[in-house]
């Protein structure tokens, strides 16, 4: 098993390297528009300002020397400096990571708490009306964009109920109750698409397990449905479900950007949008890199925990 863990960890290193290269390369695709974005309309392409910008981002140097230098800085914890706040990007990002993390964690919890029981229930009543109803809801949850649902919920709340959900953000250590109130609604709507995926997957897995011999044996022993499902079937059916969480992680991260904007949460997503608006390149690179690393690491953790939890996956 240790062999597998080491191999899996080593396998994700080249991925991270390529990710960093892609993100590094983005800014070098079109140096002129980088200069134009920083200097604004009517700049002098040969003037001192253009030279300064090119120097700042190393656009005139060959890309390999620049990439090695950039990678060295990233590894040693220097993720660049914001051209707006003049502070190191990591320093700006640190408090925002917690907000995004909280949103994502609550959303994943919701997705599992809603998706798994519904999927199991649909599997237990396969091809009967609860199955059809629940599956239709899952497909709706996957098709209706979360930002649309959020918009409608906020509009209906304001227009019909004359109630505004608590927007904004309170620090969790300052006022945990207010913090939870603000987080629950965005996290729940964010989780809908994921819980639909989890539900569909849990249903498929459950159906697979329910057809196996040991389940028939359990029925034949005369065990009650609750015991057959909870004691015998669930354990085997639910393990693979955690892999879905890894698969939907990139989607979920994209979702946090939208929901932080709609619900005005000061997380990495709003920071990214603000930096894009300000044409502040290093924070944009840094946030993109952070999200990509997070996706790789979470996928790694999901794979590892799956191997640890399921003895059959160890080889």
């Amino acid at each position: 098993m240790y062999q597998f863990v080491i191999r899996r960890v080593l396998l994700s290193l080249p991925t991270l390297l390529v990710v960093s290269f892609l993100i590094f390369g983005m800014i070098r695709l079109d140096p002129d528009s980088v200069v134009a974005a920083r200097l604004g309309e009517g700049y002098d392409p040969n003037g001192q300002g253009a030279q300064d910008v090119k120097e700042e981002y190393g656009l005139d140097n060959p890309f390999y020397t620049e990439y090695v230098r950039w990678l060295g800085r990233i590894v040693t914890g220097d993720w660049g400096q914001s051209a707006v706040s003049f502070k190191p990007v990591l320093e700006d990002m640190a408090p925002k990571i917690a907000v995004t993390l909280e949103l994502a964690v609550i959303a994943v919890l919701f997705a599992v708490a809603v998706g798994v029981p519904i999927g199991v229930l649909a599997a237990m009543r396969q091809d009967r009306w609860p199955d059809y109803v629940l599956r239709s809801f899952a497909i709706l949850g996957l098709s209706i964009p979360g930002f649309y649902i959020a918009t409608i919920v906020l509009a209906v709340a304001a227009y019909r109920l004359e109630w505004a959900p608590p927007l904004g953000y309170t620090d969790i250590y300052e006022n945990p109750w207010a913090n939870i109130q603000q987080m629950v609604l965005p996290a729940f709507i964010l989780s809908l698409a994921t819980s639909a995926s989890v539900m569909r997957y849990a249903r498929t897995m459950m159906l697979d397990v329910l057809r196996q011999d040991y389940i028939r044996t359990a029925w034949a022993k005369g065990l009650r449905e609750r015991v057959v499902i909870v004691r015998h079937a669930l354990k085997n059916a639910l393990l693979p479900v955690i892999t879905v969480i890894g698969l939907t992680m990139a989607t979920l991260v994209g979702g946090t950007v939208i929901f932080e904007t709609i619900f005005t949460l000061p997380g990495l997503g709003t920071y990214l949008l603000y930096s894009v608006q300000q044409r502040d390149f290093e924070p944009v690179q840094a946030v993109t890199l952070f999200f990509a690393i997070a996706v790789v690491v979470i996928n790694l953790l999901v794979d590892l925990s799956y191997t640890v939890l399921d003895p059959r996956a160890r080889r």
Binding site: M26, P145, Y148, T151, G255, L272, V276, V287, T288
Partner: protein
């Protein structure tokens, strides 16, 4: 009698078989019978492509000009002819947008804050969604096909290397790249978005194609072709590609929904292409959200467009998967 039998060869009909048109028609008839929901989705998709290909016929106004001054009752030919009459009407615009002519057929959904007819903008929004969606899906299918097939067929170092790159691209959240990259290459335009979405989608799609090819690369007909001295290119193009057409179609259909969703999300955040002549559903939803406290319906309509398109492509993809390729159950389109 004996002569009659010999002169009429047995199985003359089956030798010809049904024509291509007959086979395609038969496929759709089977689909309507076995997958009614998927068939309805197909009808919606065809209708949307029809609307997108000739929006001027369906729209009553242009998407960029304030309605109310003039509108077209219907449009089947050149503007201002008897095929496309323009009617002038002077109306008052309500602040914050609202019905210009209450209950009229020319502005069924009312007008937005700038006085533009929402229904007509929805029609043109269909064109935008299909333009980005079909363009990106065409590119991503080409990419997925070329990467997936070669990666699975050649294997070895090439496969290992390509798969790490695919891993890396799949780790990038689509929406984040859509926000970050256009800023660095001089602002969002539709061709740029199509290329970005095509590359991102192609990486994910190549995985499915790769595993499908791995399943058939040791098949006997491939071996036979090799023995007969077929070149790699010939095996790839003549033997492998036709056999993974099913998974490719499923991947493309479900990917289309995801791409439309991603473009809408980008426009919704206000970082999409801002061209008044090419409105996007996401952008309209954002405009509607801004006035949703007084005019909630303005946010409802564009979202229905997005949801209907994504739903139809998902359902159609599901139905195609069940009909063309039962191995693939479980995958699904999202932002990624």
């Amino acid at each position: 009698m004996a002569e009659a039998i010999t002169t009429a060869p047995i199985g003359a009909r089956s030798e010809r078989g049904p024509s291509l048109a007959g086979r395609v028609l038969g496929f759709f008839v089977t689909m309507a019978r076995r997958k009614p929901l998927g068939f309805i989705a197909l009808v919606i998709v065809v209708a949307m492509i029809l609307v997108a290909s000739m929006p001027a016929v369906f729209a009553t106004h242009t998407p960029e000009e304030p309605a109310g001054e003039q509108y077209q009752r219907y449009c089947l030919g050149p503007a201002d002819s008897w095929l496309c009459p323009t009617v002038r009407e002077v109306d008052t615009l309500l602040p914050g947008g609202g019905r210009v002519v209450p209950g009229s057929l020319s502005e069924p959904f009312g007008t937005d804050r700038l006085g533009r007819d929402i229904y007509s903008r929805m029609v043109y929004g269909t064109r935008t969604a299909m333009y980005v969606g079909l363009g990106a899906v065409f590119l991503s299918s080409l990419l997925a096909l070329s990467i997936g097939v070669t990666s699975a067929y050649f294997g070895g170092w090439y496969d290992a290397l390509v798969q790490r790159v695919v891993d890396a691209i799949m780790a990038l959240p689509v929406l984040v790249v859509l926000l970050a990259l256009p800023m660095m290459i001089g602002g969002a335009t539709f061709p740029k978005l199509i290329v970005i979405l095509g590359i991102l989608g192609g990486a994910g799609g190549s995985r499915v194609i790769r595993s499908a090819v791995i399943g058939i690369r040791n098949a006997q007909y491939v071996e036979a072709a090799t023995v007969l001295g077929a070149t790699h290119l010939r095996i790839l193009v003549r033997h492998l590609v036709p056999n993974i057409f099913g998974p490719l179609m499923v991947q493309a259909t479900i990917g289309l929904g995801g791409i439309i969703l991603a473009e809408s999300a980008l426009s919704f955040l206000g970082f999409g292409v801002t061209d008044p002549r090419q409105p996007s559903w996401g952008q309209m939803l954002d405009l509607g959200r801004q006035v949703s406290t007084t005019q909630p319906m303005q946010a409802v309509y564009p979202g229905i467009g997005i949801a209907l398109a994504v739903f139809s492509f998902n359902m159609l993809g599901d139905a195609l998967r069940d009909m063309l390729d039962p191995r693939l159950r479980g995958a699904r389109g999202g932002f990624s």
